[in-house]
Symmetry: C2
Subunit: 254 residues, 2 copies
DNA sequence: TCCTAGTGTTGCGTGATGCGCAACGACGAG
DNA sequence: CTCGTCGTTGCGCATCACGCAACACTAGGA
């Protein structure tokens, strides 16, 4: 059976095991039989794959025979993974400086299929939110880094995202794709994007693309904060700083 | 070939694939041949396992034939995993409150083999450090949450850790196991642990165990900050708040 | 309290998959 | 320019992963 990804035949049991992890990431927790149905394999196969993942700490089971969920071993791996990502490393210092300068939360995001995923985070002194954004995915049409990634993505990616209904996150979310297309054209023209309460009510953001010397888009740096501090009048000035920080990160990456 | 973990025979290729991820977490990056040697398999086997992991985003390769490293897909999974952990969820609210109250960074850690691993983090207004501790592991003898986890761990765990040389992280690190044993007895007696520059110079911490109603140790909550703010004179007062927060988290877990 | 249905686990036999070998192309160092 | 090493891939084969069947356990309903 061919999982047509990357043109080569994957190792079937590894592919299934990762499928289990992705299912549990979406679903929260699930039983053996349910996981077997989801993967299209026998429940005894699912049970053995889960036992292997559990032995390595990537999943854990509640009780002796209960549901499975993602485990702490995954966090250990990802902690190492996040620290090692090129874009995360490149962003670390410039994000810290930007956070200190502007006093708001700064994130580095990469394009992850049809979403923006945060891979690094720095927080300024004014930020009181305790939420960890690393690993979190935001919709491409409703977040500032998402708009940047969408604006500068290959045409195929933009067409795929714009082909689907644009989910409304708040009353301010752009859900008309022609409106979004025009906004993305503006983003490309001026080199930065902004949101005003489109992802969360009262949350504004400004983002700029991180591009390597070879012209490859590798991520986006964004600053976000409450609208009463990061209001539209400040967007141009903040954008100037974000674009500069993104430029520094891009230079580091070659 | 039997990987004697949990008594059952693991699925060999899944076990190997996870072994690759763990090796890359330790090593940073590595080539196909090196990974094959590390796992004790042929390089073509390693190449196929890596291709499957890469197709799913868990690893990425630099250039067409370059070294492999952990990928963004792992961070996505772990972002979901961290959010879903019982201990992380239980700690979220109490950590946020504690961070707001004390103004310092609060972490929740679990015992992860021979280290303390942070699974959740909240930062107070005074904290300016931008480092993300989630996924990071600290030595059990040199961090406050590590001392708590060690003090209240089963005897077998404590014996295993104390059997090894205790690595010196700073000049203040306790490396004499009899001194550490006495300190762990004090931790058990008073119900909290503290460190003074033992993990990092100038960094102090206070931690308390999170125990379920059934008496099971599931983690430790810690507060950390620079020595000039979180000095020894404040330890008892801070400990009182941390013990209370840990008690709340334990109550949530049943 | 008892019965039934469904779940998760495990022994076993089978065939499909994962594996190693060999060969090849690419790349870097001398 | 040559050589050694790396990563990739086709191929054949043996081992491993798989499904089936059976069992123990648990929860819910009568």
């Amino acid at each position: 059976m061919r999982n047509d990804e990357g043109g080569v035949q994957p190792v079937q049991s590894v592919d299934r095991a990762v499928g289990i992890l992705e299912f549990l990431a979406r679903r929260g927790d699930a039983g053996v039989t349910e996981i077997g149905v989801e993967l299209g394999v026998h429940k005894s196969t699912a049970s053995r794959l889960l036992a292997t993942l559990e032995a390595r700490g990537l999943v854990e089971q509640s009780g002796a025979r209960g549901a499975y969920r993602l485990g702490a071993g995954l966090i250990r791996l990802a902690g190492a993974g996040a620290a090692q990502l090129d874009v995360a490393q490149a962003a670390r210092e410039v994000s810290a400086e930007l956070a200190a300068e502007l006093g708001e939360t700064v994130n580095m995001a990469v394009l992850d299929e049809d979403a923006a995923m945060n891979v690094s985070q720095a927080r300024g002194s004014a930020a009181v939110a305790v939420q960890n954004w690393v690993g979190r995915r935001t919709p491409l049409h409703a977040s500032s880094s998402g708009k940047v990634l969408l604006a500068f993505a290959p045409d195929a990616v933009r067409r795929r995202v714009l082909a689907r209904p644009l989910a409304r996150c708040t009353p301010a979310t752009i859900t008309d794709r022609r409106v979004l297309d025009r906004e993305l054209a503006e983003v490309r023209a001026r080199g930065w994007a902004a949101t005003q309460g489109e992802l969360e009510v009262g949350l504004n953001g400004v983002a700029a693309p991180v591009v390597t010397a070879g012209g490859e888009l590798v991520g986006a740096i964004s600053v976000s904060g409450p609208a009463y501090r990061l209001d539209a009048a400040r967007f141009a000035a903040v954008a100037e700083r974000v674009v500069a920080a993104a430029g520094s990160a891009g230079a580091v990456l070659g």
